[in-house]
């Protein structure tokens, strides 16, 4: 596997997103992790079967209890894979030897029921801490965040859902004629074959969820370290040196995308760092919410007690059917509070009201629908509908250049004041505004020539000619300071008035000035 293909993107993210990253990685590595899990469990499950003497329930409890044992290799393998050095499955010995250390022991004993197991395992296995150091480190890393516990809880439920789903699916899929699965026996009767089936289903469900659970916790751990220790920056800084000594390459955009590791030498360094480095990092300043207390072996004990009590030596259950007179709860009419009676009356009133409301709603809806359908059929409305888009577009949507309402008067006023430029500018802007009223879309960047070209699509020759002259005079004035005769402007104004009167029957106020 290439190095830069194997890394996940390290960046600070919220804890739930961290879990999601873990799930993504688990999906990526699923076949390997799954096999690894089964390898681990086979090592234990077969001897255990002999040990408990073929008792399904005990065997299941045992196999379940030693879950951390099969999960540790997964943690180890994912840590190597994340940093681009996946261990081949044939080196399974290396994996198990590195994963099954003495430090795992608490997790098989009193810490087995710890609620944030998948988050703690990387701390224990990869940082090589134990005792109080682990506790302090965990407190620093977790910073009162409940996500690891939630992850454990949810994954337990996922297991249960998958297990139940598998069982139910089998139950439904077995065709009639074959022996049915007794679902009750499958969960209670440890002697029956459905119980074994159900145990197998459970193992299958657990094997599917385990990679996700472990990678979720691992990614959470990586995420916390990224957040607290800026791991991503460390990687980038280490790369900076190697990039700094070589000339800049031509594709900065590509480099920028990848914040993950890229060079074999640094990567080896980092991953060995990850595995071997005992982080002597003071946890000062960051306080955890609660210190973790060692968990007594209560749940396991309770299960054992239940098993023992269920034995026949302690008694058995018998089903008896007897007739007993039913002495109903004395139905003495305790006086109903007045508000309740009042409510009851209101309800009686409300019933018909709601009913008629519903009926009238239904009738109205049907009537509206009928009207609508009939209207769609009538040809004259059809014609009206066809024209409507034009009407809609004719309303000036984007009028960048504010023109006075009575444009003609304003132009005349400017002319009288001797401001030929102002008058012509106003007239030209008015023309553009009028064009956009006639559904000619004029973008902001359109120059005079483009306006003319756009207008040529929509106007006929007689309408276009005055506009062409106006544009020519306007350009000469604006860009060459050649003012036309005032008479010429008056002629333009007259032409403009003629144009606006004929082109649109009811444009807004500007046109009534004539």
């Amino acid at each position: 596997m290439e190095l830069d293909r194997a890394a996940a993107v390290l960046r600070p993210r919220r804890s739930w997103e961290g879990v999601d990253l873990g799930f993504t990685l688990a999906r990526l590595w699923f076949p390997t992790l799954w096999l690894l899990w089964w390898l681990g469990i086979l090592v234990l499950a077969l001897p255990a079967l002999a040990l408990v003497g073929g008792q399904a329930d005990w065997w299941l409890v045992l196999v379940w209890w030693f879950k951390p044992l099969y999960e540790a290799p997964l943690v180890f393998w994912s840590s190597r894979a994340l940093f681009g050095e996946p261990v081949a499955l044939r080196d399974v010995g290396v994996i198990f030897r590195s994963a099954w250390t003495r430090r795992l022991l608490p997790y098989l004993l009193w810490r087995r029921l710890s609620v944030s197991r998948s988050f703690n395992l990387p701390i224990v296995l990869l940082e090589g801490l134990h005792g109080t150091a682990v506790r302090r480190r965990r407190r620093v890393l977790i910073e009162g965040d409940g996500t690891p516990a939630w992850l454990t809880l949810i994954c337990y439920h996922f297991e249960a859902i998958l297990w139940g789903g598998l069982l139910l699916g089998l139950y439904f899929l077995i065709p009639a004629g074959l022996p049915d699965i007794d679902l009750a026996a499958a969960v209670t009767d440890e002697q029956s074959w459905p119980y074994w089936l159900s145990s197998a289903c459970y193992l299958l469900a657990a094997s599917v969820i385990a990679p996700f659970y472990i990678c979720g916790g691992f990614a959470l751990y990586i995420g916390r370290r990224t957040e607290l220790e800026a791991w991503d920056l460390e990687l980038a800084f280490r790369q900076a040196g190697s990039a700094g000594s070589t000339p800049r390459t031509g594709t900065p955009g590509r480099q920028g995308r990848r914040t993950g590791p890229g060079r074999p030498s640094t990567m080896t360094l980092v991953s060995t760092l990850l595995i071997a480095l005992t982080v002597t990092w003071p946890g000062g300043g960051l306080q955890a919410a609660t210190p973790a207390t060692p968990w007594p072996d209560a749940a396991g004990a309770r299960a054992i007690i239940a098993e023992v009590l269920a034995d026949e030596t302690f008694g058995r259950t018998r089903e008896l059917t007897v007739w007993v007179p039913i002495t109903g709860p004395d139905e003495a009419p305790t006086e109903t509070p007045p508000w309740l009676r009042w409510l009851g009356e209101l309800a009686l009133l409300l019933g018909p009201l709601l009913k008629w409301l519903l009926i009238s709603c239904a009738v109205a809806a049907v009537a509206l629908l009928a009207r609508r359908i009939l209207r769609d059929w009538r040809p004259e409305t059809r014609r009206r509908r066809q024209r409507s888009p034009v009407v809609g577009a004719a309303s000036p949507a984007t009028d960048f250049h504010q023109t006075p309402t009575d444009l003609a008067a304003a132009v005349r006023a400017r002319l009288a004041a001797g401001d030929a430029r102002g008058a012509l500018a106003l007239l030209y802007r008015g023309s553009i505004a009028h064009l956009s009223r006639c559904a000619v879309a004029i973008p902001e960047g359109a120059t005079e020539g483009e306006v003319l070209r756009l207008a040529a699509y929509h106007l006929n020759a007689s309408e276009l000619a005055p506009l062409r002259h106006l544009t020519r005079d306007w350009e000469a004035l604006a860009y060459a300071r050649r003012a036309p005769d005032p008479d010429q402007i008056t002629a333009h104004l007259a032409a403009w008035l003629r144009w606006t009167d004929t082109a649109a029957p009811t444009p807004d106020g500007a046109d009534h000035g004539a």
Binding site: I432, E444, T447, E475, A480
Partner: protein, 328 residues
């Protein structure tokens, strides 16, 4: 003011007539490609060099030869190859055994109109020699500066498809070209005309510029260039040009924007365009018409857009539509 105006008007009319005659003359040989022809003529009027880009066979060489034919003056052509040396372009000094002194042998660059074919096939050193000459308007051989003849225009071509074994021009060198003209295939009718015209009584497939008559001489060209440089340009148009350049520097999708020289080039090209249109003053239309040709080789798109196959013209189209034109 009005007196000089009328003087200018006459000069403009004369120059515009020259340019239109030139366009008509070359247009007889180069069928279709009106836009290309117009842009080449603008470059001539603005005294700027052109980079022509297009696949083989669209008439790059024909265009330049037609121009040379119509212009008079000296025409030279250099086929750029990987083994072309700088001295093959500029010329060199050789020792004359008879007179026992160094004699300067001038290279093909000493001409009025130079066609540099497939400029990106030559190594950087040779390209640099040509581009230096374009910038300085003179060539130095053996420490002796030799000025180039007065109208000196370079039309360089390059082929955008065959990139193997080419030396792409660096961004700074590209800046020396006033315009980058992009020659596309002709339209259907034009192609039909082209085939008909070329195969009519033609032997072999050499370029036929025989029907291009000479319409201008070098003095005329210089006169036209003087008129173009004096053309009236209102402040609002100038502002518009600068606004376009500045917008391009901050435009999304443009990695490297145009430098300050782009603004100067845009204004020069706009003047040339106005003159070619026969106007005595520059309007925003002229600026906008020339903006793609002036800017397309001066910007570099971001890597994302390049990977997705966008070309500068696509981005420039958006930019031109979005920057408000002066209209008040």
């Amino acid at each position: 003011m009005s007196e000089s105006d009328t003087g200018l008007d006459e000069a403009v009319a004369r120059a515009a007539a020259h340019l239109q005659a030139l366009e008509a003359a070359v247009g007889r040989a180069l069928v279709g490609q009106r836009q290309v022809l117009r842009e080449s003529v603008v470059a001539l009027a603005a005294a700027g060099h052109c980079l022509l880009e297009g696949v083989p066979g669209v008439g790059k060489t024909l265009l330049v030869r037609g121009l040379a034919q119509a212009l008079g003056g000296r025409f030279a052509r250099i086929q750029f190859t990987p083994d072309l040396m700088p001295s093959d372009v500029t010329g060199h000094a050789l020792f004359d055994m008879k007179t026992e002194e160094f004699r300067i042998r001038r290279g093909p660059i000493f001409c009025n109109l130079l066609l540099g074919d497939e400029i990106n096939r030559a190594p950087a050193k040779t390209q640099a020699a040509l581009l230096e000459a374009m910038q300085e308007q003179q060539v130095t051989i053996e420490g002796q500066p030799l000025p180039l003849p007065a109208p000196f225009l370079v039309y360089a071509t390059q082929n955008p498809i065959e990139q193997e074994g080419t030396y792409p021009l660096p961004q700074a060198q590209l800046d020396r070209f006033l315009l980058k003209i992009f020659i596309d295939y002709p339209g259907e009718q034009e192609e039909l005309d082209l085939v008909r015209q070329v195969t009519n009584g033609q032997i072999g497939d050499q370029l036929d510029t025989s029907r291009v008559s000479r319409v201008l001489n070098t003095q005329d060209i210089t006169a036209v260039q003087v008129v173009a440089a004096r053309l009236r340009m209102d402040d609002s148009v100038l502002h518009y040009a600068v606004r376009l350049i500045r917008a391009a520097r901050d435009w999304q999708g443009i990695d490297t924007g145009p430098g300050p020289r782009a603004g100067i080039a845009l204004v020069r090209a706009a003047r040339g365009h106005a003159l070619a249109e026969g106007k005595a003053f520059v309007t925003p239309d002229d600026v906008k018409a020339m903006a793609p040709a002036v800017l397309r080789h001066r910007i570099k798109l971001t890597a994302d857009l390049e990977i997705e196959g966008y070309r500068p013209d696509d981005v420039l189209g958006d930019l031109l539509a979005a920057v408000p034109a002066p209209r008040s």
